[in-house]
């Protein structure tokens, strides 16, 4: 108990997030994962982009970096490559990771650099007032989709899988014990790990789409998702409108900074000749 208090910047509380926002829940899960691994706080670097999720590093007692929109992974790449001893966690929103930062995401995955990338997917640009994002479902309303979203959304996990990460998972803030396991697994993974977390934005998405309170939105997470094992046995018809959650990929692959250390050894050998 009270372990979480060891990892948060108490003087910054209460935080800026709206009542019922899921980002704080994700933060708790990340903190428990760090605590479980017993990593020295001085060796943890948390990097974010901007927006609501971008504020998370400010509340965590690690080395923290709040960057520009979508660029968290590029800063994180520099930090990790410069000093591979760091455990680097990036926290991004759906707009951050998949729109403006989409390129950095696929390339971080391609390199398989040892970074845990948390994508908090609340289907919307929350902080800036509810504009649509690359995950906003077709037909949903947003301040820039007054007639309903006309663009189909990304399937985040398929995108990442095609790019080459070594750990891919999706959880929800409702399924909190499962989320703890998924995030903890991602943090332990040596390689690029992505955990997409389905979360609620009652203020900018829920309200506009008549989804009710944060509680109602979390109930939907329960009802509208199915575990990956169960989904394997379900027909396409049965899976319609459902989001599959759980661990999708957990692979051992050569990690980038380790490969780079080998490159250095080789370069030094060539140099000495």
């Amino acid at each position: 108990m009270a372990k979480s208090l060891e990892y948060i910047r108490l003087d910054k509380f209460p935080h800026v997030w709206c009542p019922g926002c899921g980002i704080g829940i994700v933060m708790g899960s990340i903190i428990r994962a760090v605590d479980k691994m017993e990593i020295n706080k001085n060796d943890v670097v948390m990097v974010s982009g901007i927006g609501c999720s971008g504020r998370m590093p400010g509340y965590c007692d690690f080395n923290t970096l709040h960057t520009t929109h979508g660029r968290a992974l590029s800063f994180a790449t520099g930090i990790k490559l410069a000093n591979p001893k760091f455990k680097v966690i990036t926290v991004m929103g759906d707009g951050d990771a998949l729109a403006i930062g989409g390129n950095h995401l696929i390339h971080a995955a391609r390199r398989n650099i040892d970074i845990l990338a948390i994508i908090i997917n609340n289907w919307i640009y929350g902080m800036t007032g509810g504009q649509y994002s690359p995950t906003t479902p077709l037909g949903s309303f947003a301040t820039t989709a007054p007639y309903g979203q006309v663009e189909p959304p990304f399937d985040v996990l398929k995108l990442i899988k095609g790019s080459g990460a070594s750990y891919i998972a999706r959880g929800t803030v409702y399924h909190i014990r499962e989320l703890d396991k998924l995030i903890s697994g991602g943090l332990q993974k040596k390689g690029f790990a992505v955990v997409e977390v389905i979360s609620q934005c009652p203020t900018s998405f829920g309200r506009r789409n008549k989804m009710g309170s944060a509680v109602e939105m979390m109930k939907r997470q329960k009802e509208e998702t199915v575990p990956v094992k169960k989904a394997e046995k379900m027909s396409k018809e049965e899976l319609k409108g459902k989001i599959v959650r759980g661990l999708f990929l957990d692979e051992e692959r050569d990690e980038y900074t380790e490969r780079y250390e080998k490159l250095i050894a080789k370069a030094k050998e060539v140099h000495q000749k």
């Binding site: 060891e6 019922g20 829940i25």
Partner: protein, 76 residues
């Protein structure tokens, strides 16, 4: 004693059985209330959480895990 003040890391908490509440941080979203398996918690007139049936608490920690505001701690 129910409602006893406890200081943790310089922050004031109130103890109700195994539960510690920080009502300063609570934003009254009701998530802990809705998903408590034993209906231990309620939202008060001031729109913040309070412990209604502390004797029913099983220390399952779901409220702590799901609280977005870090406003509930559970002693086990």
């Amino acid at each position: 004693m129910s409602g006893e003040k406890v200081k943790l890391k310089g922050i004031e908490w109130k103890r109700y059985g195994p539960l510690l509440l920080n009502r300063e941080w609570c934003k009254g979203c009701g998530i802990c209330v809705a998903f408590c398996p034993k209906n231990v918690l309620k939202i008060g007139e001031d729109s913040k959480v309070f412990v209604d049936k502390e004797e029913d608490c099983t220390s399952c920690t779901l409220c702590e895990l799901r609280c977005p505001d870090f406003a509930i701690l559970v002693e086990r």
